[in-house]
Amino acid sequence: MKATPEEPQFHQLILARNDPIVWDQLAVWLYPILVQDLRKRVYQETDPVLVEEAVGEAFLNYCRNPEKYNPQLISLRSFLLMEAEHDLKNALARERRQTQFQISLVSPSNTNEEQDIIDESQDLEAHIQGKELREHILSTFTNPVDRSIAELILDRVRSPEPYINLLEPSGLSRSEQAKQVKRHKDRIKWHLRRIGEHFDE
């Protein structure tokens, strides 16, 4: 896809970081086009909200790190579309894995796919073999935020956003948020491992 005359202008303004309204102007121009482009590329039944979120994340990431885009190689529209499609495929794969994992918890007959999921899981998850056990484990957390984090870990949610939403570390930079999320996750994982050891004994 060839770059339109507007694209290099927008890119230069965004790189300069001295016009506070340029992100909104670019969004007004390009965001609806990107969403429609991506919807055409994926299955029609794909949740349009997921499509929008993928485009949104690609757009916001570009605003934060415009240097990642090389206008010599590809048009901005194609670049953002490629990034969004990549994110969307990952999100869909993650959702599929979660659904399969939940099915495997309810019905522990091991098909090849379910076995793959179990193989991928971490040590602490190896101790979790059923819904009742899962509920028992979650009941050991008295703090509701800790319990919700444990649920996300057991569901193997790796995206930081759900954890950030739970911890609400607003006002922190991205890296500080990531550190805070990691710290909480490590603490909960440690607790889950301890529970696993008790079941082994």
Binding site: P20, W23, Q36, V55
Partner: protein, 129 residues
């Protein structure tokens, strides 16, 4: 498929998690002052629809560019620049306070963990009922 219309409001909502966007400051201010969109728009002297565009603007740079950026943004969304500057200053202060609280919490949690790791027998009391 053609019936679906992409919404910039969704993008603005995603931008709340990005510190570089004004969306994050608007969210802090709205939450603290318990304002809905209509009330926020009234405070800023702009249309409700303009809030989405305001959210997608970049945070104003600090002095000496602050005033220029405020005027540029206010003109873009037809808002009152003085009210916008007031909102941003207040929200930044709230954000700083939250960050300090958060850091204090992390330090306290670290101290707590250190104590627990020195006495393994008490480890689970932190979590178990």
């Amino acid at each position: 498929m053609n019936e679906y219309t992409p919404s910039l409001a969704r993008l603005a909502k995603l931008a709340r998690a990005r510190r570089e966007f004004l969306a994050s400051l608007l969210a802090v201010y709205q939450e603290q002052k318990k304002l809905d969109d209509q009330q926020l728009a009234e405070f800023l002297g702009c249309n409700v629809e303009a809030l989405t565009h305001l959210a997608l603007c970049q945070r104003p740079r600090p002095f000496p560019d602050f005033r220029h950026d405020i005027e540029r943004i206010a003109s873009h969304v037809q808002a009152n620049p003085l009210q916008l500057a007031k909102l941003i200053r207040t929200a930044e202060s709230l954000e700083d306070m939250r960050q300090e609280h958060s850091q204090a919490f992390l330090l306290a949690a670290r101290d707590h963990d250190t104590v627990l790791s020195n006495d393994g027998s008490d480890e689970e009391e932190t979590f178990h009922e």
